[in-house]
Symmetry: C2
Subunit: 497 residues, 2 copies
C-alpha cells in the first residue's frame, strides 16, 4: 500500500475506514431487526461484536494519537475534524478495555434480565442486574475525574458539552410549566382515531403516501416494519425507517414521521463530511428535536391535516368518510395522562422524562438506592401525572434503557422536545405561512430551512452552537410551553363554543 503523503491524509483514510465499520455495524443492527431469520441471532451477535471491536481498536490505536499530534489542518473543515476527533479519541482512550468489555457484557445480560422481569412484572428479578449496571457505570464515571458533577460524564456521551446543571435548570422549568397544564387539560375525546379496525395494509399505503410527500423518495429511502421502531442511516444515499402497525390505532403514521425526522437529519448532512466523525447528527437532543418536530409540529398540525384528510379518507373510508380535518386534528391532539412514556401526548411526555432524569440523578449523585426505585417512581408519577402505578411493568420496568446500562440518555428526549419548540418558533417567524404550505402538501421549505440551519453542519458545530444559531439563543423551554398552551387553549375554545 502506498504511503500517505501527510499525517492528515493518513488520518482521514483511517477515519473513513472506522466510519465504514460503524455504518456496517448499523446495517447489521438494521438487518437483525428487519430481515434476519431468528436462528441467525447467535452468529449475528458474534459478527457484530467483531465489527465493533475492530472499529474501536482501529480508532483508539496509538497510531491515531500520533497522527492527531502531527496533523496540520489546511482548512476550517480540517480544524473541526481534528477538534472533534481529538475529543472522541480522548474519551475512547480513557476507559480501560476491560471495563468496556464488562459494560458490554453486563448490558447484554441486563437486557435479557429486564425482558424476563418485565414479562413477570417483577422488579426483584431485575434488581441485581440493575445494581451491577449502576456499579459499572460509576466506575465508568470515575474514568473522567475532571468533571464537576458525576452525572456530567454520563450526559456528555449523548449531549457533548452539556452540563448537568444546565439540563437540570431547563428540565425543572419544563416540569414546572407542564404540571399545571396537565391539570388544566379538558376531557380527552380521541375515539375517532382509536379502536379501529384500521387494516394494516391500508395504513401502510397511507404512511407511504405521507412519507413520499414529506420527501422520502424511493431512491434514497426505505420503510420497513419493526417491533421497536428506529431509523438507520447506512450512508448519505441509504436512509432506512421503520414503524409498527397496530390495527386499532394510527400510531404507525406518527411513528413514521418521527423516524423520518431522524433520517432527514442524517440524509442532509453535508456530503463532504461523509466517512468521517463529522458526518452525523450533533447530539441526541438535536436529533430528537428533529424527530419530534416532524411527528408533532408537522404531523399534529392543522395544516398537515388539511392536506392529509382526503388521503386518510381514501385509506380508511369506513371511519373517516364525512369527517372534517378539524375532527381529526382534535382527536390526534388530546391530552390524557398515561402510565407509559411511549404512549404519552405532547403535554405529559416531558414529565415522564423528567421523572427518569431525577431518578438517575438520585442514583448517581444522591442517595437513591436501586431497591427504592419502584417507590420513587410511584411517588413522582402521582405528583406529576396524578396516576397510581399498578405494577412494575407499568412503572419502573417499562423502558429498556437501564437494563442495557444506558444512563444519561433519557434527559435528551426532553431537551430535544424543548429544542423542537424553539425551532418551530424560529420556522414560523421565518415563514409565517408554513401551515398554509402544509395544507397544500408542501413540506420542502421546512426541510430546506432545517437542512440549512441544523442538518448540513453535522458535527462541525457543537450542539450548543447549533441551538444558538438555529434558535437564536440557548436552550429554553419557553417556546415549547407556549406551543402546548396555545393548543390547549384552542381545544378549550372549541369545547366552550
Amino acid at each position: 500500500m502506498a504511503a500517505d503523503p501527510t499525517p492528515l491524509a493518513e488520518l482521514r483514510r483511517r477515519l473513513a475506514e472506522v466510519t465504514d465499520l460503524e455504518r456496517t455495524s448499523m446495517l447489521l443492527a438494521w438487518d437483525q431487526e428487519v430481515t434476519m431469520p431468528p436462528a441467525g441471532a447467535e452468529w449475528h451477535a458474534q459478527q457484530r461484536a467483531t465489527i465493533e471491536r475492530l472499529a474501536h481498536e482501529r480508532f483508539a490505536a496509538d497510531r491515531v494519537g500520533e497522527l492527531l499530534a502531527a496533523a496540520e489542518p489546511e482548512s476550517a473543515l480540517d480544524e473541526d475534524l481534528l477538534r472533534v476527533t481529538r475529543r472522541d479519541f480522548d474519551k475512547a482512550r480513557r476507559v480501560p478495555a476491560e471495563l468496556v468489555e464488562q459494560l458490554v457484557h453486563a448490558g447484554a445480560t441486563g437486557h435479557e434480565a429486564w425482558a424476563r422481569a418485565r414479562a413477570a412484572s417483577d422488579f426483584a428479578l431485575f434488581e441485581p442486574h440493575l445494581r451491577r449496571n449502576v456499579e459499572l457505570r460509576r466506575r465508568y464515571v470515575a474514568c473522567f475525574p475532571e468533571v464537576e458533577r458525576r452525572y456530567d460524564a454520563l450526559l456528555d456521551d449523548h449531549e457533548p458539552g452539556m452540563r448537568t446543571a444546565q439540563a437540570q435548570d431547563v428540565l425543572e422549568r419544563l416540569r414546572d410549566g407542564l404540571v399545571p397544564l396537565v391539570d388544566a387539560a379538558g376531557p380527552a375525546d380521541d375515539a375517532l382515531v382509536q379502536g379501529g379496525p384500521f387494516p394494516v395494509e391500508a395504513q401502510r399505503r397511507l404512511v407511504e403516501t405521507v412519507l413520499r410527500q414529506v420527501g422520502a423518495d424511493e431512491r434514497r429511502w426505505r420503510l420497513d416494519d419493526a417491533a421497536h421502531p428506529f431509523s438507520a442511516t447506512i450512508s448519505p444515499g441509504d436512509v432506512r425507517l421503520t414503524t409498527r402497525y397496530a390495527p386499532d390505532d394510527l400510531d404507525a403514521l406518527f411513528c413514521a414521521l418521527h423516524e423520518f425526522g431522524h433520517g432527514l437529519y442524517e440524509a442532509n448532512v453535508d456530503p463532504a463530511l461523509a466517512r468521517s466523525p463529522l458526518g452525523s447528527g450533533a447530539s441526541s437532543a438535536v436529533h430528537e428535536s428533529q424527530s419530534r418536530l416532524w411527528e408533532n409540529m408537522v404531523g399534529r398540525s392543522a395544516g398537515f391535516w388539511r392536506w392529509c384528510l382526503p388521503h386518510l379518507q381514501a385509506a380508511l373510508p369506513e371511519r373517516f368518510a364525512g369527517r372534517t380535518w378539524q375532527d381529526v386534528h382534535r382527536a390526534v391532539n388530546v391530552v390524557r395522562p398515561t402510565l407509559i412514556r411511549v404512549s404519552a401526548d405532547e403535554v405529559t411526555y416531558g414529565l415522564h422524562v423528567v421523572l427518569r432524569f431525577e431518578l438517575e440523578l438520585g442514583l448517581f449523585e444522591g442517595d437513591l438506592a436501586v431497591a427504592d426505585l419502584p417507590a420513587a417512581w410511584a411517588e413522582r408519577m402521582r405528583a406529576y401525572l396524578g396516576l397510581a402505578v399498578p405494577d412494575d411493568a407499568h412503572g419502573v420496568l417499562q423502558d429498556v434503557h437501564w437494563g442495557e446500562g444506558l444512563f444519561g440518555y433519557f434527559p435528551t428526549y426532553a431537551l430535544g422536545t424543548i429544542l423542537s419548540g424553539q425551532l418551530w418558533a424560529a420556522v414560523r417567524a421565518a415563514m409565517p405561512d408554513i401551515e398554509e404550505q402544509f395544507a397544500r402538501g408542501e413540506f420542502g421549505a421546512l426541510a430546506e430551512w432545517l437542512a440549512e440551519h441544523v442538518h448540513r453542519h453535522g458535527r462541525r458545530l457543537d450542539p450548543a452552537q447549533v441551538v444558538e444559531r438555529a434558535a437564536g439563543g440557548p436552550l429554553d423551554p419557553g417556546p415549547y410551553l407556549e406551543y402546548v398552551r396555545a393548543k390547549l387553549e384552542a381545544a378549550s375554545a372549541r369545547l366552550i363554543a
Copy 2:
C-alpha cells in the same frame, strides 16, 4: 485483552474474526441486491471494500504465518484446519497487494464496460477491458510458477486440487456424449409451461410451498426477489435464497430449487466448523452438484411432479386444471438448443460450458486472441448446438464472468453437473424408492443422505475426497449421460406411443 494460551487458540480466534468479516461482506452483497436503495451504491462499495480489505489484511498478516508455524494440532479437526489454512495462506501471500488492487479495479471497470457493451450488443466496446482482464490474470498466474499448466492456477481457485488435464478429460467425454443427444432429441413441446399468464403472486405462493416442503423452514431461511438470483449463507442459522419471477414462465421455481441446493449445503456443514475456513462448501463444482441436483434430479423428476401437481393447480388453475403430472413432467423436460446458457436444458447446458472452457484454454494456454473470441464462439455454437449466433449480446457478451476478470470458474458448472449425475446414481442405489418418497412429498431422506455424504464435511475433505467418498470413484460423466439418455428415451417412447 488476555493473551491466548496457545498459538493454536490465537489462530482460531483470528480465523473466527476473519470469517466474521467475510460473512459480513456477504451480507453487504445480499443487501445490495435485495434491500439497498439505489442511491446507496457508491457508499456501499466503499464500505464493502473496507470490510474485504480488513479481512484480507488480517488473514494474510505475518502473525498468521507465525501462528501457523507454531500451532500444534490437538485433534484430527485441528490437523484439517491447519492444512487448509496453510494452503489458503500461501495463496493469499503469493499475490502482491498491488496486483490484487489492480485485479479488483479492472474487474469493477470491466463489469461496467461489459454491461454497456451488452446493452449495445457491441463486443468492440468491451474488448480493451477484456484484454486488460486477461493480461492481469496472466500476471496472477505467473505468481504460481510451480503449476504444470497455466490454467491450473485459475482452476485451483475454484476447484482446489483439480488439474486442467483432468477437467479437460471429463469435459471432452461429456461433450462427446452430449452432442449426439442434441441431434437425437425429438420435437420440443413445452407450450404448457410457457407464455403464461402466470401471475407472480401465485407463483410466489407456489415457490414458498415447495421450499417449505423440501426443508427451508422460516426459522433459518428466507426467500427474496433478485434480478440475478443467488444464495447467501450469512451463518449456519441464516440462509438466504433469491429467485426471479417472470409472468410468462415457471423458471422462478427451478431457480429457487437451484439456490436451495446451494443453501442446504452451507446450512448443513458441521456447526463445529463455523467461524473457521473449514465452515463452507468444498469447491464450486461440489456446490454446483448440489444446486443442479435439487433443480433437476428433484425438480424435474416424475416423483416431484406427482406430489407438486395439486399445488401447481391450486396456484395456477386456469392453465393446469385437468392436466396430469405427466403433462407437466414432459413439458419441463424438453430439449431445445438455445443461444443463452442460463436458459439451457439438461442436455445442452453442458455444451454451453464446454464452449467457454475451451475458449478460456485458448486464451491462457493457446493462441486465441481476445479479438477473435466472437468468431470462435460462433464456430463452436454451430458445431455443438447447430445454432447461428445473430449478435454479440446473444453470444460472447451474454455472461458477466469475463467482465469481472473471472476465469477458471465456468468449467465448475459442468463438473458440478457431472457430479450431480454420480450423486443421483448413488442416491438411487441407496434408496431405490426415492421417487416414491418425492411423490409423497418426502424430501428429508435425500437431504439427510446429502448432509451425511457431502454437506457436513465442509472443507475438511478436499473436493476429490468428497467425490470419491460420496460417488464411489473419481469424476465421471457416465452416470450423467446415462441419466439424460434415459429421459430422452422415455420421451421418445411417449412420442411413439
